[in-house]
């Protein structure tokens, strides 16, 4: 038996023995385990699943063992994903620490920072949020104005962030701050880490059109940030931020499957609209639109699988990650739009028992943000036209 086949066999046995039955059921948004100081586990099984996976390093299977990871190769990670999918095992932990800060620390952090912060992320002890966008710095992120004034042993941080995901629930923040007021736009930014319980930090949730409040406005009033809590050099923050944005889109590319949870559009349409005597959906225009969507979905899935294999073969996506972000988010907007079209009047119900009890409408509204957050579709197209097509600037 090859090493990988053996790994698959052992992984399958271990998962069978250790993944609680409850953690193999379909999950909703509320079932996500985010970890953190104030996280309330929804069940004993959820807590046990996190602990047993964290002990094995499998909350972050690709990270080195020394920092709480599993030390798995790309092929081994793919096998672990497949074996977890096989039994519908829920992810034991999801967080911005895993997706974003961790990779930045692995690339730019000091050894002391890696040993301090990474295991806390792997065990789900500290929940992180990302302080990037500001009211005056959206697509033009490098125009950010939150300032960090050098006070000898610390920076005094003052300013405002916006679209900070779950800032009201986070324990720490990784934050882009202008520490070099005399440097150029792109070289005056530093990447700082600090505790959200520090004096001078406050948050205010933003209510979205979907009714939910996943984002906050975050305010800093003279927040003291010790100087050893800077990642990389002073003024290197933009390089790290760009690395993270690319990495985020690359993770999308390496995920080997859809970016977004899929509902069965066809089954929903049959249930809602019905089928006529020819065996066709009883709404020819909706049927035609659905057909075009299905072709594009099959196409995008094939592209995601190719990109996953491409990255496992050791290639980097680089700017091409923008291509997956653009295609994937635009496709999801179409998916959600078709879903509510199929649902008709039932999916106008905001609260109640009809159909999805407002979930389809909320998902549809939430999806409008997909092509804005993490870089708008227009920013993606601009990146591609310059970095890949080499069109003049």
């Amino acid at each position: 038996m090859t090493d990988l086949a053996l790994f698959r066999q052992e992984t399958r046995q271990w998962l069978d023995a250790h993944c609680p039955e409850e953690m193999r059921l379909p999950m909703s948004e509320e079932d996500i385990c985010w970890g953190g100081r104030h996280f309330t586990f929804r069940s004993a099984a959820q807590k046990a699943w996190l602990e047993v996976m964290a002990a094995r390093g499998w909350t972050v299977p690709g990270w080195p063992k020394a920092y709480g990871g599993g030390g798995l190769s790309g092929d081994e990670q793919k096998i672990l994903n497949e074996e977890m999918a096989r039994i519908n095992a829920r992810p034991p932990l999801q967080s911005f620490g895993i997706w974003m800060l961790g990779p930045a620390l692995l690339e730019f952090g000091t050894e002391a920072q890696k040993r301090h912060y990474l295991p806390q992320i792997a065990r789900g002890e500290i929940r992180w949020c990302q302080g990037y966008s500001e009211p005056g710095a959206g697509s033009d992120l490098a125009g950010l104005q939150t300032k960090g004034v050098d006070q000898g042993d610390h920076f005094a941080v003052t300013g405002q962030k916006i679209w900070t995901s779950y800032a009201d629930k986070a324990d720490w923040i990784f934050c882009l701050v202008r520490t070099e007021p005399d440097a150029s736009k792109h070289t005056g930014i530093s990447f700082l880490l600090f505790d959200m319980e520090s004096a001078g930090v406050s948050t205010r949730p933003i209510k979205l059109i979907s009714g939910a409040s996943p984002f906050c406005e975050t305010f800093f009033d003279d927040v003291k940030v010790p100087k050893d809590q800077i990642v990389g050099e002073r003024g290197q923050g933009w390089t790290i931020a760009k690395y993270l944005l690319t990495h985020e889109r690359e993770m999308i590319g390496a995920s080997d499957n859809a970016l977004f949870a899929k509902t069965d559009l066809v089954a929903d349409a049959i249930q809602s609209v019905g089928v006529n005597e020819d065996g066709h959906l009883d709404d020819p225009m909706l049927r035609a639109e659905l057909g075009q969507f299905l072709i594009d979905e099959i196409c995008f899935d094939a592209h995601m699988q190719m990109s996953g294999a491409y990255m496992r073969a050791g290639h980097e996506l680089g700017a091409r990650s923008a291509e997956l972000k653009y295609l994937g988010t635009e496709l999801n907007k179409r998916r959600q739009s078709l879903r509510v079209s199929a649902g008709g009047a039932d999916d106008l119900v905001w609260e109640g028992t009809a159909n999805s009890a407002g979930q389809a409408a909320k998902d549809w509204l939430r999806a409008k943000g997909n092509s804005i957050e993490g870089g708008t579709s227009e920013v993606m197209l601009s990146i591609l036209s310059k970095a890949v097509l080499k069109l003049p600037g």
Binding site: L281, I298, M306, S307, Y310, R320, E323, S385, L391
Partner: protein
């Protein structure tokens, strides 16, 4: 984005290198201007490289490289607008022969592989692709088997040495091999918009021998289905090559054409359209590769993927060629530029073996609606 095997990489490079050197768009123009829609000289050259036997078993003189390899060759042909009987003979006819096997494969396989003969599939009977609406009839009479009917859009039919005709016998599907020179066969050549030939063929009480029947019933249906799946996937690959070539020329134009004192590629309106086209081509490339790989692996989703690829390329090919003309402006409308040539080939490939609507409808039926 596909990680090609070393063998496939070599095939792709060899195909593009060979075709670009002597059989590129300039050569295509020369053929067109001379009224040559057959390019007979190329056939023995590509047969010598194994392309005409790309899908045939080694036992009958083929190289048996598989569908992915065939797709890479077709993509290079699309890029270079190469006129050849590759799709009709090396893909459609070879797949039928391979599926039916027996003496037909033993006899015709080596001749196809060596480029001695070409074959065309006589399938269509209406303006749109309707493989399940066949009125051409094979009848058992007192004087033997007789074939009667009429076929259209028989691609490469004007030059083919044999026609593989899809007919019905007592309601069952039957595939017969017909010599176009036989009594009662009337071949009318047509010069198509893409400067290729297709024929309409009338069969008036054509006498056939039992040996001319390649397959009947379920066996005939299976062989036809395999040939159509292969033909669609490889046609999609050729269309991908056409679309990429059109897009590349247009992206080049955006980098060099000046208006208002600046390069037009500096205009965001054009940058975003170019980048959108690039993204669509990138994902279409993955889908074509997935479809061809699925055919090679014989996987269950090969039918779904080949049809999705054919439907997707119909849309992306149109986007690439239409955007190409628009980005070039007036000069894009001239015969001196290649864009019109790509647009015409793209149009023909979209209709060939089913357009986007045909295959989208199949996928919807497959999903139960």
């Amino acid at each position: 984005m596909e990680v090609l095997s070393e063998d496939h990489k070599l095939i792709a490079e060899a195909a593009q290198g060979f075709l670009k050197a002597g059989h590129g768009v300039e050569a295509f123009r020369a053929l067109r201007d001379a009224g040559d829609d057959k390019n007979a000289a190329l056939r023995s050259e590509i047969a010598g490289m194994g392309w005409m036997g790309i899908l045939l078993p080694e036992a009958v003189g083929g190289v048996d490289f598989g569908y992915r390899a065939a797709g890479l060759i077709a993509e290079a042909m699309g890029r270079n607008l190469t006129i050849s009987p590759f799709l009709s003979s090396a893909i459609l006819a070879a797949t039928v022969l391979r599926a039916v096997g027996g003496t037909a494969l033993q006899h015709w396989g080596p001749r196809l592989a060596e480029g001695q003969v070409t074959m065309a599939l006589a399938l269509e009977e209406s303006t749109k692709h309707r493989p399940d609406r066949i009125a051409t009839t094979l009848a058992e009479t007192a004087s033997g088997l007789r074939l009667t009917g009429r076929k259209g859009f028989v691609v490469d039919g004007g030059a083919a040495d044999r026609l593989i005709v899809v007919a019905k016998q007592g309601g069952a599907c039957v595939l017969v091999l017909v010599d176009p020179a036989a009594d009662g066969v009337v071949v009318t050549e047509q010069f198509m918009l893409d400067h290729r030939n297709a024929a309409t063929v009338a069969f008036e009480d054509v006498a056939l021998a039992q040996a001319d029947v390649l397959a009947m019933g379920a066996e005939a249906e299976a062989a036809l289905a395999q040939a159509l799946a292969a033909g669609r996937a490889v046609a999609a690959a050729e269309q991908l090559g056409v679309a990429k070539a059109a897009a590349d020329q247009s992206f080049d134009y955006l980098r060099t054409r000046k208006q208002f004192g600046v390069l037009i590629g500096q205009f965001q309106a054009l940058q975003h359209r170019a980048a959108d086209l690039y993204c669509e081509l990138a994902q279409a490339d993955s889908l074509v590769a997935a479809a061809l790989n699925a055919l090679d692996a014989g996987s269950d989703d090969s039918e779904l993927l080949t049809r999705a690829a054919k439907a997707k390329l119909a849309r992306v090919g149109r986007q690439a060629t239409e955007e190409g003309v628009q980005m070039h402006g007036g000069i894009g409308m001239t015969d001196a530029m290649d864009l019109g040539l790509f647009m015409k080939r793209d149009r023909a490939l979209s209709e060939f073996l089913g357009d986007a609507g045909h295959h989208t409808d199949w996928i919807l039926r497959h999903r139960g609606i």
